[in-house]
């Protein structure tokens, strides 16, 4: 399992590197131009491109964070491995659900 988790951690990290760059560019653009909620939403509503981009981003971030949290829990908390693993999965699922919900909120027409 360790190899699998390790691989997945590195893979999601690699996928997210360019995505984070783009995300930071979006943040800088939005803050620079003082975009309002209506401005932002008018650009994202009904957009398949943004849906795909942020959808994949959310899934990658949720799995990456979940595996990282698992390491922290096993090393820094008194939880046993099994409990740590279950908690980490729970956290990942929560993140994924909230994230996909947010993407849906922003892209649904």
């Amino acid at each position: 399992m360790n190899v699998r988790l390790f691989l997945w951690q590195r893979l999601t990290a690699a996928v997210m590197v360019p995505m984070i760059m783009l995300h930071l560019a979006v943040i800088f653009y939005a803050t620079r131009h003082g975009l309002t909620a209506a401005d932002i939403l008018s650009r994202t509503r009904g957009s398949v491109a943004w849906a795909l981009f942020y959808g994949i981003f959310v899934l990658a971030a949720s799995s990456h964070a979940s595996i990282g949290i698992r390491n922290i829990l096993t090393e820094w908390s008194p939880l046993e491995d099994r409990a740590a693993g279950v908690s980490a999965i729970g956290f990942g699922l929560l993140l994924g659900a909230l994230g996909l919900g947010a993407v849906a909120a922003v892209v649904s027409p």
């Binding site: 590197v17 984070i20 309002t36 964070a65 993140l95 909230l98």
Partner: protein
């Protein structure tokens, strides 16, 4: 297992150890922030007005500073991760400490640019 000494363990006074700790703590910080971020964006589902209200709230200086901190966490975690990928996949290089310091330095610069733009 706690240390037998009351003083800071010497190996923790190392820049590379600190870089690893910063990487872990920034990841933890981002993991805690993300659910809040997603929840806020979810407000959009109720229409632009609700999201707009929230965005106006984030105009406050304290919130902008917190956002700056988040940009820092993101940048430093990303660059620290790249440093790790270099260690794990490229031939060993002697300039590790400089790389670690560079990662933090760039993160500070990126954060400063962000803060200057929003204030």
């Amino acid at each position: 297992m706690s240390a037998r000494t009351a003083r800071t363990l010497d190996h923790r006074r190392n820049l590379l150890w600190l870089a690893a700790l910063v990487h872990r703590l920034s990841g933890l910080g981002l993991a805690i922030f993300l659910p809040v971020h997603f929840l806020a964006l979810g407000l959009a589902i109720n229409g632009a007005a609700r999201l707009e209200g929230f965005l106006r709230w984030t105009d406050r200086p304290m919130v902008k500073l917190a956002e700056g901190a988040l940009v820092f966490l993101l940048a430093v975690h990303l660059l620290g991760g790249l440093r790790l990928l270099v260690i794990e996949n490229l031939p060993w290089a002697g300039w590790q400490k400089q790389l670690a310091a560079l990662a933090v330095g760039i993160s500070v610069i990126v954060t400063s640019i962000f803060l200057v733009r929003v204030f």
